[in-house]
Symmetry: C2
């Protein structure tokens, strides 16, 4: 970083809504730059000031279109909105294929909307570590609603969704999504289901399937019952219902104290990921022949078992 753009200056400019400073801060996050601790320290006071909305679903259910319409509705209601589009599906290339992000171009000239595709180029712990830091940057920049959009397929996505205060799961009719949702464990993380493309054949069946599965789950008094909303995002239908469900959930979170609990859980995941990343770096690698490398060679040769090796590794840290 050039000397003229030190961390406190960047954070101060981001506070004023300077998009370039926000972009620079998120790049530092993605790169796992050495300035990260300083960035985090400067942003700490703004923690928990935004509602973080996770939006997930299988490819093809209309996530980008829904996000786009959601941003429009939230802007109309006077919010400053941040969007993080996260694609962790490629462990080797780092993901972040831009694809239909083009749909959101209508918002790019709006200074009250900040949109960013995330990858994790250098972060230890990958996107699970980088995403919460990016959320902190957007909170620091004064966004009061932050939409984190992920492809809902694997465990990493479930982890990222767990960073949200409110998680929206998108389904579309005729994709066998109701069953898939159960299989992928997505049912457990959803606060709001959106049956998108609700004008298509099979939408009613999908709606009924989800309601049926929710009816099976036992809930104590005062527990949240996931809302199910129908929408046709591409025609901007049902989006107000989605916003209403998000607001209802926000009310419940605040009233029950669950919001604080979720923020603490999110912070715990974040702190743990940073700590484990640091430890991992200290352990060394199989390439350098020190620490982990030496122990791994002994295990591979049958001279040491992996538990004894792990013990030795931990003693050396």
């Amino acid at each position: 970083m050039s000397r003229g753009r030190d961390v406190p200056t960047l954070v101060a400019r981001a506070r004023e809504g300077d998009a370039r400073s926000v972009a620079r801060l998120i790049s530092l996050v993605e790169d796992g730059a050495p300035e990260l601790p300083a960035v985090a320290a400067a942003l700490a006071p703004y923690a928990g000031t935004a509602q973080v909305v996770g939006l997930t679903g299988s490819p093809g259910v209309g996530k980008s279109t829904t996000t786009n319409e959601l941003v429009r509705a939230l802007r109309k209601a006077g919010h400053r909105v941040g969007v993080l589009a996260v694609d962790p599906s490629s462990p080797f290339t780092g993901g972040a294929i831009l694809g239909d992000r083009i749909r959101m171009q209508e918002h790019t000239t709006d200074p009250e909307v900040y949109i960013r595709s995330m990858s994790s180029r250098g972060q230890l712990g990958g996107l699970a570590a980088a995403t919460p830091q990016a959320v902190r940057v957007l909170e620091g920049a004064g966004c009061d609603v932050i939409v984190v959009e992920t492809v809902g397929v694997g465990q990493a996505e479930v982890e990222i969704a767990s960073l949200a205060d409110t998680t929206l799961v998108l389904l579309a009719p005729g994709m066998g999504d109701a069953i898939q949702a159960v299989k992928a464990g997505i049912l457990e993380i959803a606060d709001v289901f959106v049956v998108n493309k609700a004008d298509r054949p099979g939408a009613d069946a999908t709606y009924r399937d989800i309601q049926g599965m929710l009816a099976l789950g036992e809930r104590g008094p005062g527990e949240w019952r996931p809302q199910v909303v129908r929408a046709v995002a591409v025609r901007n239908e049902g989006i107000d219902d989605v916003v209403a469900a998000i607001e209802k959930h926000r009310g419940w979170l605040t009233k029950t104290g669950e919001l604080r609990k979720r923020h603490e859980r999110r912070a715990a995941v974040e702190v743990e990921a940073i700590a484990l990343g640091t430890l991992r770096a200290r352990m060394g690698s199989v390439r350098d022949g020190t620490g982990l490398g030496t122990l791994a060679a002994k295990v591979a040769a049958g001279e040491l078992d992996p538990y004894a090796a792990a013990d030795e590794l931990l003693k050396s840290l």
Copy 2:
């Protein structure tokens, strides 16, 4: 564990090919039982004695059928064969849906074949930690080829596939799999591509797509060029070619010293996973209000930034 079935006795019986002792040892692995270090110590001398073959691909490409036919061919060639069927797709239920495992029933009366569906009920680090331990059990039981079958969709599967000496990636025509393979990073891990259902329309195109993509990759002299094999597993066609490709790869691994490197890399992943699991347990949880829990509360309240919290956490370990 009852006193009469201590770890050395179980391992000794597994060495003799006693299927119940093998089953018991793998259950200890799945449960993350306290006996695990003793199991690992007893099995250490047999490390690296089997060829571990990873077999992965999207749902519907015919993984189970191919595994079944592969086992038949390997048995005919005189091998003792182990099969681990791993389904990590459900982070909440722990996976291991048996489904079409029924296809393999023809092998269940063969004492030289050991088949097991894996889940990770108690293991810290999940299947990525449990699978290598289960491989060690099968190696200890004298299996000289171990097939690890996983659903190829996310990062966890790629990690599990990286435990193999030789990784087979199954594709089927008309599923857009060639593109998907690139997206999911599967291209990088494949040693052998099997275009299954090669009698269907589009098989030639899939074959050409893969060959085309492989032609794009640069390889130094002596580097492995992934083999592409056509098969119709359901009719037992092309399976001998798959076995030949596996053997060719084994020869290359041995000749170049890459086998030792892969075993060391596998051991490093294993040792690291065990060490990180131990550290994770020491860090505490957000629920108990100690260690990580206390720090997370401060981060959520904006009193501490996550990097400073991670530093404190590491000091306390």
